[in-house]
Symmetry: D3
Subunit: 326 residues, 6 copies
């Protein structure tokens, strides 16, 4: 049945823009499905539909419940229906629904996206890269940036599944933030090895391109769960260093140590503590940027509301104070 | 006996500059004293002399041991003797020694000093202060900077007894470092309230001027041991805020919260966790600067030596890697 | 519509006294509200009503659901209906409901109340106060007890939001318990400074009068979340000490230290550990009384039931054994 | 040689009472012995002598060094010599020294003793015991107090090796303190089961009579190291309960639980947390009394000195403030 | 009504074997009961039925709801009805239901059971026992194995309420696993005291026969909650040792220490750490077997499914990787 | 002077075999050197000499003190002198001493050695290796065992600097112990993947061959301090896996995960927890063997002594009970 519907290549209705009364005919991920039994023997279904802009509840009465039984959570679906407001929330009352193959969708439509322009982010990262003058580090970075598969993934990867920068491009944005911050810090602590700081910042988290899955949804890969991004980053960097002729042993150890130690404490997953100033700074600034991003998310999410305090934040383990006016 | 010696007002020989063979006639703190018994019934004394540049051992044979019995550790003393090299170390062989009253010495001669020019440090802190445009915060800082007793103490106070910036002027140097770092950070996180950051940085540790004693030697005061600098800073700031007419309640809470929370974790002595971005940043950068200073101290102390690793550092709980060449 | 109903000034029906079959016409806080959709397109609402004596569920069918849509959780409401027993629980079947303004209610009707007579509690606290003979401490306490706003708040404030003595008057009851306990302890440890113990006990938690809100419901204030009652108590006491002429510095430090250290451990929010016997005792007895109160609550709540063990207690982190007969 | 000296049965010179210039002829424990080599080939010995009142250093020149070689640390010795003052400390210059058999000494002379009269302590404990009215608990206590070996040990045992009440009679004194404190507490918390509190207080630490050795010096026994006093107390009480006919099962569990849980936290060695009010109170008061005793020891030790702060206390993990005048 | 039904002595339908469409007439535990109200004023009930093989949901419409009101969760019930498939799950639609007395059921029918034959498990444990040659340990084990009540309970007891081996016979299976593992370890570490290892393994957890209730369902007993199995095992073993003439004191301490220390760390409930090799090994292998059993349960539960990772395991605090093919 | 002495190639006197009165002429490491001043102006030196069998003190009077001033701690020296017994300890009274070049010594003479025959240990490891039937794992192991440099280092490397198996060959002995233990365990848990267990056991610690220096003395290398053996082992195994054609990805992940997770807890330096049974077992048995070796060392060291308890063991954090007779 669904196959006779002409499905447009691109989504043009996003969850965050739906309004009460609107007619919906578009693609979503089916993110929740609960079948319910009515007293009279019929059934209905409580659903949830998701795209990159957010999620909306749905309800499907008896007539479509047979179609819904064939669907699984995680399926891409094509939905027609109406947007209703109920109990202060919007919901889609479903008229028809059927499954889509992966060929019929554009994955990026269903994944959380970056507010910033990733091209510009990458350009600025490259500008920092251009400032590295040590020939070995310069060459090492070149090997990564000339590797197209690497760059394609680096542009796409998130920095986390949930905690911070948990969207496509999040890794690049987080990396750029640290570069900018470290650049300011180096102007105060002039004794720091700037080349080493820039290089290690760019490379410290690259294992995340394999630690996460980010085609259909953002999740941990099996390799990520088994090894973690510290180990994967280490392996990726060590392998490319071996391709730079005469890379100095001392520099190799310092750079690899910075990757291994960047979580800062053994109980946070770094087998070694940072043992020289550049390593300590990479850890602090990496940690700071992730926490600030989480706080800023709370502030953004609540802007315009009357609330003085956010809900309890499970990663920051505190409530955030929301009043920004001074 | 000692009273007939003409004692110059100023020290002119510093421990760190003494050389084997030199004649010594100068003022020191007696920092160690152990009386020893010889087999033949006589006594001798093993001593240590200290000034702001460091410490040197001393030995005094039988003839002066009666004079030494009258002295206590911590006394200021006037010493004549000769510098000897023994077992790879220098020592003073004491010819005469007697106690000095506090009037006869210049306390600053005996306390560890800052490498930087404190006048310049204060000038730069004032430049940051001048950038604060919020009228209440501006006024609050003015009240502190126009308070001469406060400023005299702020210029002198150390930032710690031992851990980091443990010298006269250490509080000012540490404060300036944070101002500089935070200034760089604010240029990346543009949403931050710059005025609040500058003000809180300048004021967050001012309780240290009462937490420490730094006239004869650097030590904790009884008030410092009883209350700690978080509480004392709080009290000092709250008291001055009350003198700024119409200081907004919300701003008062934010500023005081930043003082209370700047140790970052309850187990590090902050009764509250940082609850908005500026508070979190103050904590991170304060912490970062103290740790970097400790690492840099190890690097400086070991420069020119063949060592690859420092000794175990009790505050950083690790050894520091010392090779700086790249 | 609701405005034409004649609303009595005082509540006369309390949740804890409602019985199946009774007619209800009284004021409550609307503490829960969930709109539900019927298969036939109609709606109904599941509600909860609360007053100082407890909470009861409610159900409102289609006819009143429009009125309910206008209400928010937290509103004071005037309800008419019938009490029904259903599934072993009572519920109010709502006939009419409308919102009340704050002028139309008596806040104390909706806040958990003390079992004890607060007047008597205050009288006994005053008797302890009368035993203080040190003139400075005597004067300090006088300054507080002659401050009517302070006393009004001190009588009303709870000792916690949830954990223990979480009711109007809880602070006074908890304070009196500690006074009584400490009085017994002092008779064993005769060397203790009784005046200091009494004074510090009365003042140690007074910051709670600002840490909590307790007009409409018991909650943390923003000042409380930002600073906590240790800091607020400190500030209140320090300010009044400054009004006692020639208050001895040593006594000031001891008293303020007792406030700062009364949580006993840094990780429990005290920046300093108790450093002399009176400070240690204040911490122990404060802690003991709060824990005993929690255990006693469990015992009281379960009296008359067949249960041998309470449910898991989230603050005490254990189940409580309930069998009291021996 | 030594055997021809007439050795008095009782000590009459105690370390704490020796004065410079005095002749010494008495019994001590040899608590330290270091043989030293002189440049000329001869030997001398640095020693330490201990009795219940404290320790004093000793020195023995060449002539007695052969006698000293035969002695081991821990031996009881008979010493003749002279008291000398050297380097601000007293020392015994030994003229003769020889070992004593255990028959020739009175062990109690060499063990730290109680300031209080143990007979009176036991009398007061018995007065508390007499207040127990529950017939089973009354009978249980009787079984212990009629057991002479038990009572002899209970009067002698220390409450710890070093931490608190670490002297002969310490267990009894600590037990009595808790009884007195608990008696005051019970007058506030009237709902408490007084009989259970008294009985459990008397019995909770009785395992210490086997956990420690206290004949020659106070040390842990092998049984103490292997099992600890919680287990040993449990076993002793369980065994006697079995001899009380029809002892109620519920009461048995409550009493044994109080012994098992009296350390209060699993990480402090209690396999179970206190689960009812009496158990919680026993834990708190036991803990309080041990900590107060440690603090009072510091205060006593330093009375009359100019010090404002004690040295760092390894068990309390803090320095103690010593100024008691108000 | 129910009393006229002829109820077979044995269950013959087990939850895990029910299929859609089947008629049910059998005994279950009523493990959940929620009464629901229909819009039209009628009621229905959502139920859950449990036996040793697992649980199944049930639904009972208006006609039987009066019978259901008389039932409590935990009751044994006799049910007639039909198995329906709904929302991918089976449920029993109840036609009649009534309570059974404990005489009418076989408790073991309702408790989780062992996959292994407990007779064989006990036989193999006895074979290990037969290898013990030390006459005192041999005699001690004999006293336990000749005690029929003990053996009956030992065969039945679970090793835990939920975590591992949480089924009838679990204690015996867990004990046998450790015996087998320890036997392999002893062949590598030949210096170990095999007799002591075997004996302590058999006895270390026997307190679980009193720590748990396992007649109607597996739960902690009051004695178990109050004392824990370490204390109960200790008491049981100490009591039987006292019946073995001339049992050596050193052996007694070692064996009892192994029971006391077998949780390995104080914070895991052992008042003492393992202090010799056999004690350390018992702790490690006991811990290993419980963790491996939990992992294997996850693997078994998920065999045949497509999942690569288990759900988060609350005791192991991780997800388990499920792919077993290599 | 020293150069004219004929120095034998091999040591023939070992520290542990020296006896009082013996003449010494042999090679040692100078492991301690303290110059001392005599009252008469002369100097003497207190020394310590070490070889693979242990350490002995030395004393050198004035006549050789000039030679000693030229020596540094860590030098290899050639010593002539006499063994003296003094104060219950042996010491060498030095007649002559001079430095040796590294060519003149056999490093192995100065490093702690294995009690077992390393050839036999390697043979048995190879026998385990031969049992691996999975062709990829078989090939992988072959690549390591055919790498002669690897095998030479593997035979020599210690398993730790101090904690356990801290001697040449310690890595091989520890590896073999785990293989034997795991082999016994696998016979109980038959479901385990034996090939994976054997392979991971052999490879899990191979990074130690680079983590430690063990030519002159056993110490951590800079690479070891920077990265640790988990990371180095990972890199070595990953590199060799890449040389095995078509090595299955799932097997690669499992094997590498076992290396990464073998410390068992994040706070013990494993970035990931063991996530399947084989990984958990490797962790447990590795941990068990290291702890048992430490306990056995204490037992061996104290055999024949009267002591019942070892000194406090800093790694095991307890005293060990030494009585082995039963």
């Amino acid at each position: 049945m669904g196959s006779t519907i002409k499905i447009p290549k691109m989504k043009n209705q996003y969850v965050s823009e739906l309004e009460s009364g609107q007619v919906v005919t578009d693609k979503f991920v089916l993110s929740k499905k609960i079948m319910k039994e009515k007293k009279d023997g019929g059934t209905y279904a409580m659903l949830e539909f998701t795209d990159q802009s957010g999620s909306i509840e749905g309800i499907a009465w008896h007539s479509v419940s047979e179609d819904i039984k064939k669907l699984s959570v995680g399926d891409f679906v094509y939905v027609t229906g109406n947007v209703n407001e109920y109990n202060d929330k919007l919901e889609i009352v479903v008229n028809s629904i059927h499954r889509l193959s992966e060929d019929e969708i554009e994955p990026a439509d269903f994944l959380p996206k970056c507010d910033e322009d990733v091209d510009e982010v990458m350009t600025e990262i490259n500008e920092f890269r251009a400032k590295v003058s040590n020939s070995y580090l310069k060459k090492l970075l070149e090997l990564f940036f000339e590797d197209e598969t690497f760059i394609d993934n680096f542009r796409l990867a998130p920095a986390a599944k949930k905690a911070h920068h948990a969207y496509l491009g999040g890794l690049a944005v987080h990396t750029l933030n640290i570069l900018r911050l470290i650049s300011g810090i180096q102007s105060v602590y002039k004794f720091l090895n700037f080349d080493l700081l820039i290089t290690s910042t760019i490379l410290h988290d690259i294992g995340k391109i394999h630690e996460y899955l980010y085609k259909k949804k953002i999740d941990l890969s099996t390799r990520g769960k088994m090894l973690g991004h510290i180990i994967i980053s280490y392996e990726m960097v060590a392998e490319k260093i071996d391709k730079v002729p005469r890379f100095p042993e001392d520099l190799r150890l310092k750079l690899l140590h910075m990757i291994v130690s960047h979580h800062g404490e053994v109980e946070w997953g770094s087998p070694k503590l940072p043992m020289f100033p550049e390593a300590l700074i990479l850890h602090f600034i990496d940690n700071l940027d992730s926490k600030i991003e989480m706080m800023m998310n709370e502030l953004k999410k609540n802007r315009g509301k009357q609330k003085e305090w956010s809900d309890y934040h499970p990663y920051l383990e505190r409530e955030i104070y929301l009043r920004e006016e001074k």
